[in-house]
Symmetry: C2
Subunit: 420 residues, 2 copies
C-alpha cells in the first residue's frame, strides 16, 4: 500500500485556471435538440427559435383612454370661456371597428383599447368633457385644445413588422410569454432539457432514508446536484451511489454516458486509496480533460469526455461539489440550450468583512449580497471549508478571492459570481 | 349614455397608497394547507416545517485529508533534520470505523471523510510523509510538528444537535436540499401551491390561436399572469376570457372564487362603458377593498374579497397588469405559503438616466439593473406607458419614482423593487 507519491500520477496533476478549463469544456458543448411546447408550458424553458414581429404592434391606432375620438383641429382656439361642441356620431367599444369617419364638427365615443376611427387624430378623456343631448343626438363639449396624437397609440409604436424580438437561448418568463401570446405563437420551440445523470461514489454513503451509522454519512450531494441541475435548466436523473469499486464505477459511468446527455459524479477524485473516479479518468475508458483546477474549494475537480459527452467528476466535499457544479456543469447545461451567457453573472462589489485565508489558488468564498445605499457588499457566509455544507443555503454569490500572500480587508473591491 | 361623471361612483374613487393597500390585503391572507413531497420533488417548493438538527454535524470526528491519523504530541520536536517514525497500525477507508486506538508511536492510514480513530488528535496529509516497510509492517515518517486538530473536523463543527436550521416559508433550493438529505429527511412538508384562477375580460380579446382581426388583440395578459403566478409559487388555472357581460362575469367570478384559492382578472376596471369588473366589485356579490391605488401604471388596480378569498381585478393594460400582479398578487401567494418576506426585495440604487415623467402618484418604472464598480444603477427600460407590453421582458426591477412636480435626474438615488 506504500505510495511513491513523487512518481505517482495521481499526485502529479497540472492545475488549470478556471477560465482555461471552462473554455476547454466549451469545445465539447453543442446546442442540443429542440421540442415544441404549448405557450403555457413554456415558462422557465429556453427559447429555441428566433421571434420576429409578424405584424406591427399595436396593429391599429389604439385609444389610450375612455373618452371621445376627435380631430385636434376642431379644438383650436377653445378655452374655458369658449367651449366647442361636437356631434357624437358613433360609439366604439373595444374590439369593434367603426365604419364612420370623423369629419370636422364630429366625434365618436370610444373605449380604452379600441380602434380610433378614420379622420380622428386624438382622444380626449371623459373627465375633460361634458355631454348634452339635443334633437340630433348627443353633443360633446370641450374647453381645451387637444394636440394631435393625444391618448392615441400609433401603429407600430412598440414594434415594427419584421423586427427581431426574441433570440434563441433566452429563458422564457412573463415578459417573453406576453410577447409570444401577443403574436399568436401558441406553440413554442424550446430546447429539450439536457438529461444529466448524477451519482455519488463512496462506501461511506448511506441512502437518504437509511438510519445513521458510525463513520458513515448520508448521500446529500446527489440531491444537491439534482437541484442545481434543475436550476440550470437540465433534467436530473439520480442513479444509485456506487461503492468504491473501480470496475463497477467504469461500467456505470459508461452506461450513463451512453444513456444521458451528461454525467456528473461526486467523490472519489482525491488522492486516497479508493478514489476511483480519479483512477477512472486516468484510464482508457474516457479521455481526461483535466483533473486539477487552480481553485479552492474543489481543486480536484475533474472532467473527461467520451463520444462527445462530458463527464464531470466533482469533489465529494459538499462545498467543493457545489462550486464545481456552478462553475463547470451549469454553463455546460446552459450552453447545450444555446444560452449566449452560460456562466454565472459577474458583479463587482465591496468586501463586507476581512477575509484572511490565503492560498496560491483562487478561492470561491460562499457569500451573501447586501445592498446598502446603492453599494453592493459581499459578505462571506461563515466557515467555508470545502467540507462544509451548512453555508451553501445562506449564500447567493461566490466571492472571488484571488491567489496571493495576504488576505483581503473589509472595504476591498471584489468580484462576485451571482448564484441567483 | 350620457354620464354625469361628477356624481358617478366609478369616477369618484379614493386612491390608496400601495403599502396601505398591501397591508389591507394582508389581513385576508392566511397560511394554506401543507402536503408531503419527496426530497427530490421539493426543489422550488416552500418549506412548511421547522427543521432542527437531529444530531450534531459532522456526527463523528472526520478526517479532512487523505493521510495518517496521528497524535500531535508524537511530532513535538521533529524537523527536517529530525524525522519521527510511527508504526502504521490500521488502514481506515471512508465508511469504516477502526477498532484500534492510536497510542504513542503509532498512526493509522486514513482517507478524507473517514472517522478519525480513538487516540489520534490530528491528521497529516500524504504529501508530508514518507513510508518505509520494515518487518513489523509499514512505518510513516514525518519531519514537521503537526498541531492538535490539524485536518480533523470536530463533531458538531457545523451544527449542534437540536439547532434550528430551516424555518417554514423559505424556498427550497440546492443548499436546503443538501441539509435535508444530510439529516435523512426524505419526505418534506411543503405548502400546497395556491391555485389561482386567471381570466381576462373584454370583447376585443382573441384567443392566442385565432388569426388577427381589425380592432382586436390577442389575450396575452392571461398567459403573462400565469407565468407570474408560477414564479410566485402558485399554480395558475387559466379560464376562458369573458366577453363584456356583467352577469356572466359575476357568475364566472363567483364560480372561480368558490373553486380556487384566489382569482385574478385583467381588464374591465377603468371608467369605460363596458368596464364590467369595476361594476362587479361595486355590486353586492363581493366586498370591495379598494378600486384605486395612488400609482402609475395601474391606478385602477382593484381588489375585493368574498368568503375570505381574494379577487384581484387588474388593469387590462399589459404594463399595469404586470405591476399590479407583482405588487399585490405575488405577496398574497407568497403569504399563503408562510413566506415572512412576501414582497419584492427592495434595493437602493442610482438612477442611470434622466426620468422626466411626473405625476401626483408614485410611478413604478420598468428598469434594468446594472452593476458598475460595485454601485447599483437602475436604468429605465424605455417607453413605459401602462399600455406598453414590450419592455416587460427587458426589466428586472421596478424603479420607484415618488410623486412630485419635477422629474428625476441621472445620478439621483432611487428605490428599486427587484423582480428576479
Amino acid at each position: 500500500m506504500a505510495d511513491d507519491i513523487h512518481n505517482n500520477s495521481k499526485f502529479k496533476r497540472k492545475a488549470l485556471q478556471v477560465n482555461v478549463a471552462q473554455s476547454m469544456i466549451s469545445q465539447y458543448i453543442s446546442v442540443g435538440e429542440t421540442e415544441m411546447v404549448t405557450l403555457q408550458e413554456s415558462h422557465g424553458r429556453t427559447l429555441a427559435q428566433e421571434i420576429s414581429a409578424p405584424h406591427p404592434y399595436p396593429h391599429f391606432r389604439r385609444s389610450g383612454m375612455d373618452g371621445y375620438a376627435i380631430r385636434s383641429a376642431d379644438t383650436e382656439g377653445c378655452s374655458n370661456d369658449q367651449s366647442i361642441w361636437l356631434q357624437v356620431i358613433d360609439e366604439i367599444p373595444c374590439g369593434t371597428v367603426s365604419d364612420k369617419t370623423i369629419i370636422p364638427g364630429t366625434a365618436a365615443r370610444i373605449m380604452t383599447g379600441a380602434q380610433v376611427p378614420e379622420g380622428a387624430d386624438a382622444v380626449v378623456m371623459f373627465e375633460m368633457t361634458e355631454i348634452r343631448e339635443d334633437e340630433g343626438g348627443s353633443v360633446v363639449g370641450l374647453k381645451r385644445y387637444i394636440e394631435i396624437g393625444k391618448n392615441l397609440t400609433p401603429i407600430g409604436l412598440e414594434l415594427q413588422a419584421g423586427e427581431l424580438i426574441l433570440s434563441p437561448g433566452i429563458t422564457i418568463s412573463a415578459g417573453e410569454i406576453s410577447v409570444l401570446a401577443t403574436f399568436g405563437i401558441h406553440h413554442v420551440a424550446v430546447y429539450r432539457r439536457p438529461r444529466v445523470a448524477i451519482f455519488s461514489t463512496g462506501s461511506e454513503l448511506l441512502s437518504v432514508d437509511e438510519p445513521l451509522q458510525p463513520g458513515k454519512i448520508r448521500n446529500s450531494n446527489t440531491y444537491m446536484l439534482a437541484s442545481q441541475v434543475i436550476e440550470a435548466g437540465g433534467e436530473p436523473v439520480i442513479l444509485d451511489a456506487i461503492m468504491d469499486d473501480l470496475s463497477l464505477a467504469r461500467e456505470k459511468v459508461e452506461e450513463a454516458l451512453h444513456a444521458y446527455d451528461m454525467v456528473v459524479t461526486s467523490g472519489g477524485v482525491s488522492v486516497g486509496d479508493f478514489d476511483i473516479m480519479g483512477d477512472l479518468v486516468r484510464g482508457d475508458s474516457v479521455e481526461m480533460l483535466y483533473n486539477k483546477i487552480a481553485m479552492r474549494p474543489g481543486s480536484v475537480t475533474t472532467a473527461a469526455v467520451k463520444d462527445g459527452k462530458l463527464l464531470f467528476a466533482l469533489s465529494g466535499n459538499p462545498g467543493a461539489c457545489f462550486v464545481g457544479c456552478e462553475l463547470f456543469v451549469r454553463p455546460s447545461i446552459r450552453g447545450m440550450m444555446g444560452d449566449q451567457k452560460p456562466y454565472l453573472t459577474e458583479w463587482s462589489g465591496i468586501l463586507g468583512a476581512d477575509y484572511s485565508k490565503v492560498n496560491n489558488f483562487t478561492r470561491y468564498v460562499r457569500g451573501k449580497t447586501e445592498i446598502r445605499e446603492g453599494v453592493v457588499y459581499a459578505m462571506p457566509s461563515g466557515i467555508d471549508e470545502s467540507g462544509v455544507m451548512i453555508t451553501i443555503k445562506d449564500s447567493d454569490c461566490l466571492i472571488v478571492v484571488p491567489p496571493g500572500q495576504q488576505g483581503m480587508k473589509s472595504g476591498d473591491k471584489v468580484q462576485m459570481l451571482m448564484l441567483r
